[in-house]
Amino acid sequence: MNTIVCVKQVLDPEIPPAKFKIDPEAKQVIPPAGVPPVISVYDERAVEAACRLKDKHKGKITVISMGSAKAADVIKHAISMGADDGFVLQDPAFENLDSFGTAYVLSKAIQKIGGYDLILCGRQAADWGAGQVGSILAEILGLPVVTLACAIEAVDKKLKVKRMVSDGYEVLEAPMPSLVTVSSEIGLPRLPGGMGLMMARKKQIPIWKAKDIGAEPSQLDKAKAHTEVTGLSVPTRKTECEIIAGGTPGEAAANLALKISKLI
């Protein structure tokens, strides 16, 4: 079975909060020096899900990433895990697109690749976390969609997907092709093996521009963006530990309980 996985390269979420700096004017994050970007957490799990299906049913995994030319790194990471092919979608016209624009560009690339049985996305990108590119993409492609998957199996040309819900999970059956967004419960991604690292090292990752995938400039017009980021700020955060007091340990505990119940 053939799978296409959409992966995004993001600022490493693992940086000290104190090092998190933004440029409020440009509404941009300023990455700290010496911290290379990484593959978005859920997207890596989507690659893992694809690899598990490939382990069982063979087939081909193609990975696409829209971003800078550096996104080739996350494609290579996916290839080292077991993907076969990958493309970077990079064009000035693709910069700072909203979720619709992103989904549109991805849909164009997916149509160009074609021949898929399954499209996988992460449930949410680890940076902007809009949490909607997958679903919009499905609508554009006219595909059934299952979100928040924690397990995917292929049985009799159908997909059996376990979906996380708050009090358990549901098991869904979807036709092929479908689009599935993957949640972290699917499990730890594999460590790339020797073969994978070799493949990734050798592989050339082609870059597709807007014209390569036939993306219409009108669809990428930022003036027509569905959503716009109008402000970006870093919430002031206390750095000191707040010691919860109380007349007795029991009272302190009760006060803490009140705090906690507000946090979750």
């Binding site: 940086i15 010496g34 911290v35 460590l191 020797g194 690292l197």
Partner: protein, 687 residues
């Protein structure tokens, strides 16, 4: 007249002699050839460079028995006995060639027998025989009565003891009967002569004595031949193999890992092998190692994993792999002849990883090198264990979760400290310091390579900061990489993630070259070892110094003056990768001795017999087998025994391990763990 020149059942003795010899030698050769062919199942590896040096090694190690003498400690004198046995037995061996081979088989008895040469030689042999017998008794007592943990009381050992004893006895008997039969009354060789005297006194007829001599002679000959047949079929194969192994021993760094050759990268998909999953994935030298093992158990009793109750025993690993080779090898050879050469036929039966060596064993090794250090026959345990890890990690994707976490972090973030980056970034330690941080286009001769731990882990950052101040005080002109530094690759390599290591090594070398760096100062012995010994394979030849070497130098040149009194009793722990791996033993001690009023107490296990802290080989991040003693907790007991107030480490892992063990024992008040450089700073004149 030699018994060979007689005729038996109308068959000339010579015929019997040579037929027996031919049969025995044939059996010897048959076994030998099989072992040779099995060995050739292994992968290629070049160990034929510097032949002169190799021959020298062989002669220097084996003939004077340096190999076993070096293992002699006050507690374990067995090495002495072994050397005695070896020398004595060599004399016997030569005597067999001269007195049985040349004199008997070749009929040169008239030239050799009854000469003063014989008398002298036999007299020496008598002494040797006594010594050997005493050693044998000692050995038997040790194996079957005292039973030290390193020796298994095997039947094989018993057979050999008996055989050797019979050789001694038969030799003396032979001389006795011979002298008695001929009526020789001499006082030399002492044992033979005494026995002859006794035999003559019994009044046995001369004919009987002569017949007795002949039978003793032939029996003696038979025992010698069976010895020859038995040796390559027993663990005493080591007698031969260890000699060869000394020839092929590594000439470079003591513990060397083979890179996975780049051809593996070019191999058609699916056929590449990573590490060892089958016996034939080892190199022929590894297989030769198996033959060389004498099962002496020295490695077993010095292995920190074994001593703390883990399932790993280096002796068992080697022994089991040898058995596995002997079991599966013949089948492989058979397959090899009908299948195309180099076919990857799977050996039937046991799987090597799992049935022969378990995953727990493979992951318990700290690569401390204690086993290799004490092994009298130059066996390289560590690279086999790493080869097994390579297969687990790169081909089977099987490893402890903690190992995977570490390796994933190495891959994505370029350091092994998963999670730590949420706290601090690599370059953070440089803030507010006046340092030369290299940026594109810069040049620097000397680089201070901080290492992941020194840059990322709070406790070790303190030592890093001390280091920069000491370097400055010593007038060293150095630069640092700041946030551009990545990992040297050591944890990846020891955990079997070879390609990741290779990539990091190549990247770092390129980086060093881009700044024209000539000399690299490290604080971490693991970085030190890796950059110094492993980077050259990838084209990185730099002068690498550990800070203990540098500071010792600065002190002796008078550039650093340690004037502050420390008033402390301390002990120094030899980090495995500095001590055993690189023989830097004296520099750290010289530094400590230069500190006023710092009294150095040595631990019993120190220098080359030093005991691991538990943090090497990736084990800093991999959980030790549950239910076993932690290695650092065993080591801290050594420290406590010395009664010091400070344990000094020269390695970031050791430092952490000691702090943890001290914490665990709850003795923070009475014992501190310090990095050596912190003490140097404290003793330095402040300005």
């Amino acid at each position: 007249m030699s018994p060979v020149s007689a005729t038996y059942w109308s068959i000339p003795g010579y015929v019997i002699f040579w037929v027996l010899f031919a049969v025995a030698f044939g059996l010897f050769l048959q076994r030998f050839y099989l072992l040779y062919r099995l060995m050739r199942l292994g992968k290629q590896e070049n160990r034929f460079d510097q032949i002169g040096q190799r021959i020298k090694n062989m002669l220097v190690e084996v003939v004077p028995q340096w190999c076993t003498l070096k293992t002699v400690t006050r507690k374990d004198l067995a090495g002495l006995a072994h050397a005695l046995l070896f020398w004595s037995f060599s004399l016997f061996f030569i005597s067999y060639i001269i007195f049985i081979g040349l004199a008997g088989g070749f009929g040169l008895s008239s030239l050799i027998e009854r000469t003063p040469f014989e008398t002298v030689y036999f007299s020496i042999l008598d002494i040797a025989a006594v010594l050997v017998t005493l050693t044998l008794i000692l050995a038997a007592v040790r194996r079957y009565i005292i039973r030290p943990p390193r020796l298994e009381p095997t039947a094989e050992a018993g057979i050999i003891l008996i055989m050797v004893f019979s050789l001694m006895a038969l030799h003396v008997l032979g001389v006795g009967f011979d002298h008695a039969a001929r009526g020789v009354h001499a006082s030399w060789p002492p044992l033979g002569a005494a026995l002859a005297g006794f035999l003559s006194g019994t009044g046995i007829s001369q004919g009987t004595l002569e017949a007795g001599y002949r039978w003793v002679w032939w029996l003696h000959y038979l025992v010698i031949l069976s010895f020859m047949v038995y040796i390559p079929r027993s663990k005493h194969l080591h007698i031969l193999a260890s000699l060869v192994n000394a020839f092929f021993k590594p000439l470079g760094p003591k513990v060397a890992l083979e890179p996975i050759p780049l051809e593996a990268l070019e191999a058609p998909e699916g056929s590449a092998t990573f590490g060892a999953s089958k016996i034939q994935d080892f190199t022929w030298k590894d297989l030769l190692d198996f033959y060389a093992c004498a099962e002496c158990g020295r490695c077993h009793v010095n292995c920190p994993a074994q001593l703390t109750g883990k399932s790993l025993s280096p002796r068992e690993v080697i022994h089991h792999l040898k058995e596995h080779l002997l079991e599966t090898g013949p089948g492989l050879l058979a397959n090899k002849t009908d299948a195309s050469p180099g076919s990857q036929a799977e050996a039937p039966g046991k799987t090597m990883i799992g049935d022969v060596v378990t995953e727990e064993e493979i992951w318990a090794c700290t690569t401390c090198g204690a086993c290799q250090e004490v092994c009298p026959v130059n066996i390289e345990h560590i690279r086999k264990i790493i080869d097994l890890r390579r297969n687990l990690v790169m081909a089977q994707s099987k490893m402890p979760e903690s190992a995977q976490l570490m390796l994933r972090n190495m891959q994505q973030r370029g350091h092994p400290w998963a999670g730590v980056q949420s706290m601090r970034l690599r370059g953070d330690w440089t803030s507010d310091l006046e340092l030369k941080i290299l940026a594109e286009g810069d040049n620097a001769d000397t680089l201070f390579w901080v290492g992941c731990t020194g840059a990322l882990v709070e406790r070790n950052v303190k030592a890093t900061l001390s280091m920069t101040r000491v370097l400055k005080a010593g007038g060293v002109d150095f630069a640092v990489l700041g946030d551009a530094e990545t990992c040297c690759g050591d944890p990846a390599r020891r955990a079997g993630y070879e390609f990741q290591f290779q990539m990091m090594a190549e990247q770092n070398i390129e980086l060093f070259k881009s700044y024209n760096i000539k000399e690299i100062i490290t604080t971490c012995p693991h970085c030190y070892n890796t950059i110094k010994h492993e980077y050259p394979r990838y084209g990185g030849d730099f002068k690498v110094v550990h800070y203990t070497e540098l500071i010792a130098d600065l002190i002796s040149q008078g550039k650093l003056k340690l004037t502050n009194e420390l008033n402390s009793k301390l002990t120094y722990h030899d980090p495995c990768y500095l001590g055993r791996y690189n023989s830097v033993y004296s520099e750290p001690r010289r530094i400590l001795q230069a500190i006023p009023r710092a009294k150095l107490e040595e631990m019993e296990r120190s220098r080359d017999t030093g005991f691991c802290c538990g943090g090497g080989g990736g084990l800093m991040w991999i959980e030790e087998q549950p239910g076993t003693t932690k290695i650092n907790q065993m080591r801290i007991e050594d420290v406590i025994k010395t009664g010091v107030d400070t344990v000094v480490a020269a390695c970031p892992y050791c430092l952490q391990m000691f702090e943890d063990a001290i914490d665990h024992k709850g003795i923070k008040e009475s014992l501190k763990a310090r990095d050596l450089v912190e003490l140097v700073e404290a003793a330095m004149k402040q300005f």
